[in-house]
Amino acid sequence: MTTHLGLQRILVPSAQVSSLTTGSITLPSARGQFSIPGDYDSIATYTVGSGGQSFIEFTSIPQTYKSLELRISARGAVSNTHITTLIQANGDTGANYTGAELYKDGNNSGGTGHAVGETYISYGPFLPANQQSANIFGVGLIEIAEYTNTNMKKSFLIRTGYDNNATGTPSWGHILMRQGLWNSTSAITSLKLTPSTGSWAQYSIFALYGLRDA
């Protein structure tokens, strides 16, 4: 263990995950009482248990970082081909979200999409559901820069998709580049991720990280 004289501080985890009915939430308390935050910190992680989960919400997000990164490996628990992730910030359920996408499907179709004035970002991570083969999970990388900046509307950069080896229904995968906007200059203090239908499947994992600037 390295001791940093004169620079010790107490790291108090403050992120919470609400509506926990199954699964586990872990906060970086295992670091001990004294720790030196690095440039890239784990804020909180949620792993869905056997009962599934209707939504995930990170609350009391620390305001001490420059940007946030959310890393997702997940699947929808619903009899459907896929689900998309609906994203809301700070509990805002108003028509204050827009989004866009560029995508490519494995059947060689592709295209773009756009939506305005929605009550959530509908262009969140695009993930498989129960009509896909077992063990197939999708991925999502969400980056939110300047999330505490009260001079900026909040942008979400999203990379996502999954492949199914031409099995399942439909028999092709998807890869997408998506963008979302929360039309608010408020600092982001909470993030809620809800599947477009059904619930989150067991073993889905949602990990929130904070990145510092220089």
Binding site: L27, T45, G161, D163, N165, M177, A207
Partner: protein
Amino acid sequence: MALTYEPIATNTLGSATGSVTFSSIPQTYTDLVLKIQVGGASSSANIQVRFNGDSGTNYNVIAMYAYNDSSKAGGSYQNLAHGYGGNVALAMGTSLQGISIINIFDYTSTNKFKNTYSNWGYANSISTAETNHIISQWRNTSAITSINISSYSANYITGSTFTLYGIKAA
């Protein structure tokens, strides 16, 4: 104190080679990130990714790309003998024009096939450039303990760097 985002190993090539392997990968992280800056000894170099020594046709890929700003397309490929991290530009002298960032999610899970999301691109002249987003899947629920990066035919040039990072969730 363990870091959240921690370099595991770096391989900087002292001589040209067509294969790099990271083995005995610690099982203590949540995700892995492989960052590659590379040049090819010829235009036949690319980045093929295999896990745990598996060279069977157990990989599939879906990609979306743009090439030279004049064409954009994608493709879906099944039952490959490798995942895919990108193409590699012919090096201009000793300069390394290509970069690939490969995210490997939940690599220790024994309940999931393993997914990677790769962003890569290169430019090796004023008129030649390519960018690509790729999802690769290894159809195996085993935890990943080794990663091999290899080229289709041409070697990676001296000075190419391959760095593996671990990301530890709370």
